[in-house]
């Protein structure tokens, strides 16, 4: 059973921004969906995967990348040629 408090917590973790008037609807929908997910309790097997795959590594060669002005074009805020983000501290 998922509670409104759980949904509020998940919303915080996901930075999704939930209003209190949305909590009841989301919680109801969550419970219906999570109830359905409980069919996974019936899954048997260890899921061991063996596919004879191996990593293919290449040399880390420096190649041309996006010019700075292109990379900045869609940024919301910028300063001195850098992307400006909200304050962290």
């Amino acid at each position: 059973m998922v509670t409104e408090k759980d949904v509020e917590h998940i919303g915080e973790l996901a930075d999704i921004g939930i209003d209190t008037n949305e909590l009841a609807t989301f919680t109801g929908q969550f419970n219906a969906i999570v109830d359905y997910f409980d069919v996974l309790d019936r899954v048997r097997g260890d899921g061991t995967v063996s596919r004879d795959l191996y990593n293919i590594l290449r040399d880390d060669e420096i190649e041309p990348s996006l010019p700075r002005e292109e990379a900045l074009r869609n940024a919301g805020a910028q300063e001195d040629g850098f992307i400006k983000a909200p304050r962290v501290m």
Partner: protein, 434 residues
Amino acid sequence: MAEHTIRFEPDDRYNAFLTVCPHPDHGKGDLSGIAVAVKDNISTLGIETTCASKILKGYVPPYDAHAVTLLKGAGAAIAGKTNMDEFGMGTSTENSAFGPTLNPRDTGRVPGGSSGGSAAAVAAGMVRMALGTDTGGSIRCPAAFCGIVGLKPTYGRVSRYGLIAYANSLETIGPMAANVSDVSLLMSIIAGHDRRDSTSYDRPYHHTPSTDVKGLRIGIPKEYFGAGVDPEIAATVRRAIGRLEELGATTVPCSIPSMEYALAAYYVICTSEASSNLARFDGVRYGPAADTKKSWHAAYQDVRKQGFGPEVRRRIMLGTFALSSGYYGKYYAKAQVARENVRKDFARLFTDVDVLCGPTMPTIAFKLGEKSDPLSMYLSDILTVPVNLAGIPAISVPCGKVQGMPVGLQIMGRPFEDERVVDAAYAYEQAVKA
């Protein structure tokens, strides 16, 4: 490269396009001068790409997706960007932030989703072909609902470079068109290796469809004709399979026991991947600007609350929940075991049969607004998601009508045998045309 331009001024009464390019350039090649529509989650240099989300309104990619580069190299004219469920999350194209697309066969019904705009643009004759993407059925469902052909290629065969990620272990770009030959032609252009996608295989597609299905062994999984599948659709699809038998194929009854939990596994995995992939949309590098004076949590929450629609927020939260400590083992880890079981079921069946056949969708296209409850919408994906969990190819080809609406025959094949499912679809299409 570009030598000419065409005029593209479609009568888009179905809201199939989010962006129309009225005078696209084109070069020479197998698609010279052909207008191709591109789903709006595939990056196009200099053309706004929104994923039908307010959070990417105004975003203009500084590069082309690999598939778009290949289209341009073949001479195609990029005609515009098509409507979709926001970030691919939906089965009806009603989850677009820019209004739903209407089904050209009946404008009171949805075109299916999430590639509903691409399907409607083809079905209405606005373009000859289109690119879609398929994470859990998003090419095959709208192809079935709109009465066109759509191929979900083997995972790894078409580069995902420039496809804006939603659930990257499941999704692929693929071709949509009015007939199998055009789907095959478009596939031959977009398939092949790309070093910028680390899951890309070097398996190009050079194929001319053949109608020869003599000796083809077709498995008929009973789950595709069971509870939840409209009996009229089941009967229509059985008649289509009968047609393939008349052409020399043989049928074998079979079962996919893991179907019991495949849909739940799919939704746990796709929402988990979405919660990670969509973390990048925070208003810093693209999208509506975050308020840099606020703390980062507050700023991101503002941007994401206003920018994402309800289904996207729901899926991000579901995925965050499925991955959170205390629930990871119960949901995400179990879903991965279930996924492996689905893969093993297909592998076992494909030692005996060459392809599997069933309906693409359990119902005809629903009416606009009919599926307002999220879970009931999820349940309509039951017949398409197993293919994505296993990474195998599958095609949807029109096979008749129920209540005047198109029905899709789904043909699923072994990994990297996209050619075989194309041939089976072609054989059926040519037989009923004759």
